[in-house]
Subunit: 203 residues, 2 copies
């Protein structure tokens, strides 16, 4: 070590103690099973974070199913990607669009019902390791699908599959039941600065 | 309509007005350029949300680069997926691991420097539409890489590329400069309930 090189000995010694502490902490974490994951809050990133876990799962050879409850009928980046790679993911676009676009509550209810029936199939199928229910929180919030029915099913779910439910305004009973909850809090949103929704970012 | 079918006329009419209001709002959003996006906070999902935007970008045929500053040296789902599909993404694993695992500050500094030089290349290369700098916030927080140098470069960045920077403890100057900031707030984390890190979810 020359005179010019800073001496990091103390830092490096301290890191040994940090590592030992972390190893003790990790040794206490022994549980392993399918997690119920909820992404909620008014910030951006709830669905994209679910799609990122899809990428991780695919990297481990896990089988993935995605049901989109609201978005996805129109062209999106995720739709283009997953539909171009049907061998990777079972991808079901079952929403009819936003309620203000359908302007048809009977259609919204029928679409949510069909999406939920398909979601249950995927969750109950032992072949699937990870199931994303994108925007399910929205149809529960709007009573387009009865939340108590969803919660009752999830209480009895098979514990071999990870389930990730996205959408703002998650029901408190769902948060109660979940193993992992992240609230996506908006700090700065480009829409408010006059930006359009842009490819790759918002869709 | 039979007697049993609920009458949704009022709901459907109201949605027409909601749609019109949303269209007026969207008409005011006219800006379009590469966004500086920051994912911070102590909640789970910051990196996976960046990878989800990668999926979206790929679905639009956009060219994507990813530099991983800390994580990724060990086997992860994203690493397996991106390395198995090198035609999709330029994927650079340039971190040496957590500081408590390297226990070598000089190595940490050299790794962060190399990762930053590569990051600048990708951002300055007009071929790239979306560049993810995963965990860059961490090396700035730890002064492993000088934050002022990063901020100065980002102030002058080309506005044709979306850049997404992840990691807890983002610098206030970075949040100031950013177009989109989401804080990922931990509500419930499986580690605290004794769960191990699990494939597809945490890595």
């Amino acid at each position: 070590m020359t005179d010019d090189t800073p001496d990091y000995t103390r830092h490096n010694e301290r890191m040994k103690r940090v590592q030992a502490a972390r190893e003790r902490m990790q040794a206490r974490r022994t549980l392993e099973r399918g997690l119920l994951i909820v992404h909620t809050g008014n910030g951006k990133g709830k669905s994209s974070s679910a799609f990122g876990m899809v990428v991780r799962s695919l990297g481990w050879g896990m089988k993935v199913g995605i049901v989109q409850y609201v978005k996805g009928k129109w062209e999106t980046g995720e739709r283009n990607f997953f539909e171009a790679n049907p061998d990777l993911v079972t991808y079901e676009v079952m929403g009819e669009g936003f309620t203000w676009d359908t302007q048809d509550r009977a259609l919204d209810i029928a679409a949510a019902r069909a999406a939920w029936e398909r979601s249950k199939q995927l969750i109950l199928d032992p072949a699937y390791d990870f199931v994303v229910l994108d925007e399910l929180n929205i149809v529960m919030r709007d009573d387009t699908l009865p939340a108590d029915e969803v919660i009752a099913f999830l209480k009895d779910r098979p514990l071999t599959t990870h389930i990730c439910i996205t959408g703002r305004s998650a029901k408190p009973e769902l948060l109660e039941l979940a193993d992992l909850v992240t609230e996506f809090a908006e700090v700065k949103h480009p829409f408010k600065a006059g930006f359009k929704a842009q490819k790759g970012v918002e869709y």
